[in-house]
């Protein structure tokens, strides 16, 4: 209740400030989409347009602040003409005004399908609006040129989180070492830790992987990657941008105490039929899209791996003692239709399927539980319907319903078996309503429900910080067969207030209940943003955020056999503050310290009366803190690049009486330098250098003979995670050449070389059968990947 009181007080305070404001700058009412032409292919830069806004809010005049001479100039002018504004006012009287509008344009760089790709796509991101605080009001003497709106023309984003780090498709595709993958490049952003090789984990701000969520167009999906990081579950060709919310995200999102990765899908192109094909050593994909009529567009795409064609032979040649047939595929279909001028409906069907059958020779494993035929299959599909409307008064409505199914099959001999099907329904409806010129309210509901059916046969499931269980063969097995429904309703609301032209306060709260737990979780959150200084001498913005977050236990943790029904949700308090400083033309520095306090974490407590030997309770605590630095050069037609550095520490205490220890993914230093230069004749070269502190590990000091398993188990050195793997270093290089082969068609060939210096990165240790000796297991050595794309 105290939190509600504070929120109400803040609302009341800032509301009063707004009420007394007499002069108001113009504000964007309706954004316009960039209509890219073929001539804009390969171009990406910011264009500043001077816009004169009439007293009626319409654009009266547009002009380029600094003409560049390329096609983006005209595209920017065209887009700016179609913007609509709430006019500037003085004492509530509309005035003519003039502003600079900065549009970040990314032409159909490598993809002709970009042409008009964003037409109909809603609105610029959040930061746009707070940047609006720097737009000064027209004065009686005439409309002065004052400050800049920073507008990126692309799909809808939540505009209320203090920190969203986005990579658009042009950046993703040209990222060295990213192999053109849609998600892998996020590891080069601040706040994102390096995941162990082939883990497919996403680790944000020192949080556990399961604390962070992955969304496809704002609907949660169970996994981000095929086969533990081999490739994202959607092809890059379909991605508009990937947004990383490392923490302190706004009330619109919930059910997690970590961060969020939201993969925004682009809409189908409007102008004509486009075809894209892409092939490399791992998979091939095809995409077809285009208009069905003047209001309706379609897109279909599919991708399939072909690793199974050569991996068994490769494994045999390398005498790996393993034969495997890994296969993955994914598919997407989209239908988009304009309903009137301001509403767009989008129906999306997408899915993913991974399966692998491994034959592991007994000579490769001392534990029979991990030899023989091992099978793993995961799949999911989603059918999503989105409606997006912008009303004349500036109100934005968004609704979405998503139905789908997640499947898991794990068959590791007789010891580990899981067969699970989860039918999921997610629904979201939200409204974003401008109340007055300095006040905006957003609210909505976020529902999640469905049905779980699973059969699990496991030995006890160890906690993340539990010691090695020793050989699994011969261990007591537990089986749980469950079928149950669940419903996790949530609701959220926030209020955005501009007490001054340059100061924004956003306060709100989210309420969640979880079917697996009792209790209602009220999570107040707020963030502030203050443009301390405008453009002169470099724009300076301060920001800060504070909020509560809750996350339900994992399914097995509340299972009657393996877990403890009735335990409560994990919770966290997240805080961050920071500064964004424009230090030169196109160069911006942001520094953002953060702190995350974790409490009520679900952990295991030994319990002889339990069938699993322990029970779960909310006794875990922990914290993560650090500072994120990002020095970014905003992309122009030749260069894109940034330097990202995060210094942090993350620790956990599993039970109150136990000592605190390092978190297993704690990485003190995470440094990434990324640069890509386009020479203008179709050639481009990129370089990425990464240095990351090695993950903690628990040293093993000896071994014991486990008679029931016929094998040895390790004796851990306590405290756990007291050792560190060697630091990770990698230099990745990418070279690409593009040819225009036909009108509006493009062919490109690229080579992406991972770990070009062939630095040997240790990922873990392997041990002698009795744990008396160890050796290292390294990640992939230098790996060149050759690929080709054709766009028609």
């Amino acid at each position: 209740m105290r939190a509600i009181g504070i929120l109400l007080a803040l609302v009341a305070f800032f509301g009063v400030r707004v009420a007394f404001a007499q002069v108001e700058p113009p504000r964007i009412k309706t954004e316009a989409d960039a209509h890219y032409t073929g001539a804009a292919r390969g171009l990406a830069r910011e264009v500043v347009v001077v816009v004169t806004i009439g007293a009626d809010g319409h654009v009266a005049e547009v002009a380029l602040a600094e003409p560049n001479g390329d096609a983006l100039d005209e595209i920017a002018l065209d887009a700016a003409r179609r913007y609509e504004f709430f006019p500037a006012t003085k004492d509530a009287k509309p005035l003519k005004s003039r502003i600079k509008l900065k549009l970040a344009l990314h032409g159909p760089a490598q993809t002709p399908e970009h042409v008009e790709e964003d037409a109909g796509a809603p609105i610029p991101p959040p930061q746009t609006i707070d940047a609006g605080t720097s737009v000064q009001t027209a004065r009686d003497a005439g409309p002065p040129i004052t400050d800049i709106e920073d507008v990126r023309v692309r799909g809808q984003k939540t505009n209320d989180s203090p920190t969203v780090r986005s990579l658009d498709r042009a950046e993703i595709e040209s990222m060295p070492g990213g192999l053109g993958d849609a998600i892998r490049p996020i590891e080069s952003l601040p706040g994102v830790s390096r995941a162990p090789a082939f883990s497919g984990l996403i680790i944000l701000r020192g949080g556990a992987p399961q604390d962070s969520q992955v969304f496809l167009d704002q609907a949660a999906v169970p996994l981000a990657f095929h086969f533990g990081g081999l490739a994202a579950v959607v092809p890059t060709e379909l991605v508009n941008s990937v947004d990383v919310y490392p923490g302190n995200y706004d009330v619109q999102y919930g059910r997690g105490i970590g961060g969020i990765v939201d993969i925004g899908l682009r809409g189908p192109s409007k102008d004509r039929i486009h075809v894209i094909g892409k092939f490399d050593a791992i998979d091939g994909s095809a995409l077809v899209e285009g208009p069905l009529d003047d209001k309706t567009r379609f897109l279909v795409a599919a991708r399939r791996s072909w690793i199974e064609a050569y991996f068994p032979a490769l494994a045999q040649a390398l005498a790996l003692g393993v034969t495997a047939s890994p296969v993955y595929y994914d598919y997407q279909a989209m239908l988009e239709r304009d309903i009137g001028k301001r509403t767009t409906l989008r129906l999306t069907f997408l899915g993913s399927n991974d399966r692998v059958n491994v034959t592991l020779a007994p000579s490769q494993s001392t534990d029979p539980a991990f030899a023989g035929q091992l099978q793993n299959a995961t799949d999911f599909w989603r059918l999503q319907l989105q409606a997006d409307a912008k009303l004349k008064d500036g109100t934005k409505l968004f609704s979405q319903i998503s139905v789908g199914q997640d499947g898991l099959l794990l068959d590791l001999g007789s010891t580990l078996n899981a067969n699970s099907t989860a039918t999921r329904v997610q629904g979201r409806a939200q409204a974003d309503v401008p109340i007055t010129k300095g006040l905006r309210i957003k609210g909505g509901i976020d529902l999640e429900g469905g049905q779980w059916d699973y059969t699990l046969t496991f030995p006890q499931i160890p906690g993340a910080d539990s010691p090695d269980t020793g050989p699994l063969f011969g261990q007591k097995k537990l089986t749980s067969v469950r079928s149950f429904g669940y419903f996790n309703p949530g609701a959220f609301a926030n209020v955005e207030i501009f007490p001054t032209k340059r100061f924004r306060v956003l306060v709100g709260a989210r309420v969640d209940t979880f079917g697996a737990t009792s209790g209602v979780y009220l999570q107040p959150r707020m963030n502030v943003r203050w443009v301390v200084r405008g453009k002169d001498g470099g724009k300076t913005t301060l920001k800060g955020a504070l909020g509560l977050y809750a996350q339900q236990p994992q399914v097995f943790e509340t299972d009657p056999v393996f877990g403890t029904p009735g335990i409560a949700a994990n919770e966290a308090t997240q805080a961050s503050f920071g500064i964004e400083q424009e230090i030169a033309h196109r160069v911006e520095l942001s520094i953002e310290p953060f702190y995350k306090n974790l409490f009520n974490l679900v952990t295991q407590r030994p319990d002889a009366t339990s069938s699993s030997g322990f029970h779960y309770d909310n006794e875990g605590t922990g914290f993560a803190y650090g500072v994120e630095f990002l020095l970014k050069y905003k992309p122009d037609k030749h260069f894109m690049g940034w330097l990202a550095y995060t210094i942090s520490r993350s620790e956990r205490r599993d039970l109150p009486e136990l000592p605190i220890h390092l978190f297993q993914y704690d990485q003190t230093h995470v440094l990434s330098a990324v640069g890509s230069y386009s020479f203008g004749n179709g050639w481009s070269v990129g370089l990425r250098v990464r240095y990351v502190t090695g993950n903690p590990y628990t040293p093993i000091v000896g071994g014991y003979f486990d008679n029931n398993g016929g094998d040895y188990g390790p004796v851990d050195k306590l405290p756990i995670y007291s050792g560190r793997l060697p630091s990770f270093f990698s230099m990745d290089v990418r070279v690409e050449k593009k040819w225009h082969i036909l009108k509006d068609s493009l062919f490109s060939v690229y080579i992406d070389v991972l770990d070009a210096t062939n630095f040997r990165n240790v990922e873990s240790f392997t041990y002698a059968y009795d744990y008396q000796f160890h050796a290292t297991a390294a990640g992939l050595p230098i790996l060149p990947s050759l690929g080709a794309r054709i766009e028609l």
Partner: protein, 300 residues
């Protein structure tokens, strides 16, 4: 679970060729198995543990033994049982217990954890902080005895009145398809080659054994009838096996043969003719039951 991750990761990672001695080569003090006459027992029931151990290069040195038990330690992990003990007690290579009468108090299924230590030196009943062992084993100079002369570990007895679990039985043993009776020591050619490929095809031999047909029991713990999984282990004092254990042979359709049969190929690499070749066959089910047999081979 870490080993699960490692096994799967090694499919993807460049796991180094480690050069570690395979587990099936017995060239140090080793406990090959501890056979309980009752892997599942009721409260008050007596259980006898017989140890099969080897010290092929020990030249008959004395082995000191120590034992201890823990009741329902709250964890099935051997180190947790060892840590729950004040200390082990000196003993021999066999051990007897009586399951406590209160073993099922508060639990549906109980467990008696048994910890052992074998030391080819001076065994001291104090924990060794350096390797996590529940005892300390030192040589005459006071230096810790390494893996060649010290081993510790444990086993478990499931306490229940609801289920039974008999030990599986080894029925017949074969060498190159011929039944291999106890006491018979066939003679084979030695090979000086270090690797399997360095030895002639005539040096390849097949060891097999069968289990009695009723060795894999069927039981039900509430999830439907489940049949025990059997695994056959093989140990040799020298030479190379294709693997240290084998699953039961199956027909072309993948159906296990009856009676269960386990095959392994053997090559006497780097033969040491000064020592005989000793073999052990250990049959385990996945609920703690086991039986052990051994044979010897001489050199031609």
């Amino acid at each position: 679970m870490r080993r699960a991750a490692l096994a799967i990761a090694c499919v993807a990672l460049a796991c180094e060729a480690t050069g570690f001695e395979p587990e099936y080569v017995v060239d140090t003090l080793r406990v090959l198995g501890i056979t309980a006459d009752a892997p599942f027992a009721a409260p008050g029931q007596s259980v006898h543990f017989a140890t099969t151990w080897a010290d092929p290069l020990g030249a008959g040195r004395t082995i000191q033994w120590a034992w201890g038990t823990c009741l329902n330690p709250g964890s099935s992990q051997i180190p947790d049982c060892a840590n729950a003990l004040d200390s082990l007690a000196p003993g021999t290579d066999s051990f007897d217990i009586t399951v406590p009468a209160n073993a099922l108090d508060g639990v549906v299924v109980g467990e008696v954890g048994v910890v052992f230590a074998a030391c080819a030196g001076t065994l001291s009943l104090v924990r060794d902080p350096h390797n996590g062992a529940p005892v300390t084993c030192k040589d005459l100079t006071g230096a810790p005895v390494g893996r060649d002369g010290f081993v510790w570990g444990g086993t478990r007895v499931v306490v229940t009145t609801l289920l039974v679990n008999a030990n599986p039985s080894i029925d017949k043993i074969f060498i190159d398809g011929t039944e291999w009776a106890p006491g018979y020591s066939p003679a084979i050619d030695s090979c000086v080659g270090k690797n399997v490929d360095d030895c002639p095809a005539s040096a390849v031999h097949e060891f097999s054994y069968t289990a009695k047909a009723d060795s894999a029991e069927t039981y039900d713990i509430g999830a439907g009838p489940t049949t025990e999984e059997l695994v056959g282990w093989f140990y040799v004092t020298q030479g190379s096996l294709t693997a240290g254990y084998a699953s039961p042979n199956a027909d072309d359709a993948g159906v296990p043969l009856s009676p269960p049969r386990f095959d392994i190929a053997f090559v006497p690499t780097t033969s040491d003719r000064s020592h005989p070749l000793h073999l052990w066959f250990v049959l385990r089910d996945d609920r703690g039951g086991m039986s052990i047999a051994d044979r010897q081979i001489t050199w031609k």
